[in-house]
């Protein structure tokens, strides 16, 4: 038995056999051919081009991709269809009498040299697309194109997961993925999470450590890959796995039911979405739409800022899929550290307290206006609301409103169709915003409480810090009082208020939150059904006392104890 430690980015357990996809570059031996072989080589070439071209087309048709992925696949197709590629390879085969594989690699070597000489760094990196096509052609020609045919119960072991690969794999047979590289925020990790597929990343050299077909256990919680487990470990995990499967089946039954408490209070439970690619996998979960559409993906891994047109198309597409349910778009909530290459700004020492969220948007009005105009245009057909992140004073909301008005004027001048008075919401995720929520309520159309940041800023604890992460404490009375204050002020002004963040899914908090009067929750797809299950267990009559008890507690431990006691009592009374 051997244990490898990585980082779990998508929870769950997988048991199965390893399938190692070693995507090492292929080496090609040069081989000369006879003149009589030329025509068969050329036929082989055309059929390889056609085969891979069809593959790409199929991939493009069968999934809804983000603009970036679509562009990449589109470029791959153009590289394959390039008349110069075809001409030069055919000429080398015919005139130099070298085998097809050799001709193909020679052509791409020339390409590599041309790209190498380019001054623009971003363009020089486009060689990666050529390299990929080169490798695919060679693999196909040498007959070992990786047909990603999976056996049942496969744990895929790869260098890193391209989204295109993930979407191509058979969902019924794939149990989990481990990668050498990658991070929690990589696109593939996000998609895997919303698919509920366990993933562990950052297992260095895992490709060489694991043998193909080895018996493996993948634990997304602990971030471990266990290779050839002993019988005791196997038994433990088999049991965990069967519990997990049972629970998953139970949860799936909930999809059909309306989201309501046990005594019939309708609760709106919406989705938090990070990528448009997630939509197709998660749409069936909720009829209540998306309560938080993060837009940071638009700004990641690229060399130029996203245009209005590009954003408009994405927003419209996502919003139309959800109709009549709403799409709440959060304007970009990103720190300058992530955008330094796009905006030409110096990285800051303390990005969490620096120029991020609404501050960054107001600091870079062009970026903000482009996003707002795309949203206002998409709102013509979609049920769209817009939400501002990291508000800490009322002036930020007033300035944003003013900017939105000028965007409306500009769109009118340009003769574009757009919607006026798109509902404008404020995220309550700083203690300052919660404290002044009665003032903020007069300046906006709804609140959304973002619990993850609210906890971080209230307690001054970075959840990613090794030393203080355990002090990231949702049970802290300060956090609960700020949430309560916000809800009370919203009610005073008759303002809709919702809550998003992990607290909104947890069995310990759902009764409390519903008891406060929060009937609009939004959670990420991976925990959606768990949240729904927790909601459906709540008895409205039981929770009045719980709220008072919890708000009366003096410390986290006491809060936790009172919630536990309440759970015990309510289980007994059922």
């Amino acid at each position: 038995m051997q244990k490898l430690q990585g980082v779990g980015v998508s929870l769950g357990i997988a048991v199965g056999r390893a399938k190692v996809l070693n995507r090492q570059p292929l080496q090609v031996a040069s081989r000369s051919i006879d003149a009589s072989d030329v025509s068969s080589e050329l036929v082989r070439f055309r059929s390889a081009l056609e085969h891979i071209g069809n593959d790409i087309s199929r991939l493009l048709d069968s999934f809804s991709f983000g603009k970036n992925e679509r562009d990449i696949l589109d470029t791959h197709r153009l590289i394959l269809q390039d008349p110069e590629l075809i001409k030069s390879v055919e000429r080398m085969v015919r005139d130099d009498l070298i085998c097809l594989e050799h001709a193909v690699s020679r052509h791409f070597q020339k390409a590599a040299k041309l790209f190498d000489e380019m001054e623009d760094d971003y363009m020089a990196q486009r060689i990666a697309d050529y390299r990929e096509i080169n490798q695919r052609l060679l693999r196909h020609l040498q007959g070992n194109e990786q047909k990603i045919e999976l056996d049942t119960d496969t744990i895929l072991v790869v260098d890193e997961i391209p989204v295109s690969l993930l979407m191509k794999l058979s969902r019924d047979k794939l149990r989990g993925i481990v990668t050498d590289k990658g991070s929690r925020t990589s696109h593939a990790a996000i998609v895997a999470r919303s698919l509920g597929l366990p993933v562990v990343v950052g297992l260095r050299d895992v490709i060489t450590e694991v043998e193909d077909n080895a018996h493996c256990i993948l634990d997304g919680q602990s971030g471990q890959l266990i290779i050839n487990p002993d019988s005791h470990t196997s038994d433990v995990y088999e049991q965990l796995l069967s519990n997990q499967e049972q629970h998953r089946e139970d949860l799936l039954k909930l999809v059909e039911q309306e989201t309501a408490t046990a005594d019939g209070t309708r609760i709106h439970l919406r989705l938090n979405i990070e990528l448009p690619e997630e939509m197709d996998h998660v749409l069936h979960l909720s009829e209540d739409g998306v309560g938080l559409f993060r837009t940071e993906f638009l700004f990641m891994d690229r060399s130029s800022l996203p245009t209005e047109e590009e954003q408009y198309i994405i927003y419209r597409e996502v919003a139309e899929k959800l109709l009549p349910a709403p799409l709440v778009i959060r304007t970009v909530d990103i720190g300058g550290d992530k955008l330094s290459n796009l905006l030409n700004i110096e990285p800051e020492k303390n990005p969490a307290l620096g120029c991020r969220g609404i501050r960054l948007s107001l600091e870079h009005p062009d970026l903000f206006r482009t996003q707002i105009m795309a949203i206002l245009r998409a709102a013509v057909t979609g049920n769209i609301r817009v939400m501002l992140p990291l508000i800490s004073c009322v002036e930020q909301v007033q300035r944003s409103r003013k900017l939105i008005r000028t965007c409306e004027q500009e769109l009118a001048q340009r003769g574009r169709e757009f919607r006026r008075n798109v509902p404008l919401g404020v995220m309550i995720e700083t203690p300052a915003a919660a404290m002044i929520s009665s003032v903020l309520a007069t300046e906006c159309d709804f609140f959304s409480i973002g619990t993850n940041d609210l906890i971080q800023y209230t307690l001054a604890v970075d959840r990613a810090s090794d030393t203080v992460a355990d002090q990231f404490d949702p049970y802290h009375p300060a956090v609960l009082h700020l949430i309560t204050l916000t809800v009370q002020n919203a009610r005073k002004h008759n303002l809709p208020v919702s809550i998003c963040g992990e607290m909104a899914a947890e069995s310990d908090f759902i009764p409390f939150l519903i008891g406060l009067g929060l009937h609009d929750l939004s959670v990420s797809p991976g925990i959606y059904l768990t949240a729904k299950e927790n909601i459906m267990r709540v008895q409205s009559s039981d929770i009045v006392d719980l709220v008072l008890d919890v708000l009366d507690a003096e410390c986290s431990a006491e809060v936790k104890q009172r919630i536990r006691d309440w759970h015990k009592a309510s289980r007994k009374s059922r």
Partner: protein, 88 residues
Amino acid sequence: MQQKEITVTNKLGLHARPSALLVKTANNFRSELHIIMDDVEVNGKSIMGVMTLAAARGSRLVLQADGVDEDYLLEEIAKLFESNFSED
């Protein structure tokens, strides 16, 4: 044969996306397209040719089209440059 001189005015020049758009547009026509910058000539239907031209903003290009639909081809390609490849 028809030819037309244009200036690259979009911000990024013939970057990845504009190149792809140009080649895709050219592929809709039967005529051949050649793009000449300084003394380099590339096939306008070759993504590799267009990308490695690395035409930055401000570059002067000569577009040469040859074939039955050469007029339309030039017109459509010129439109792309005029609209700055819809970069906004």
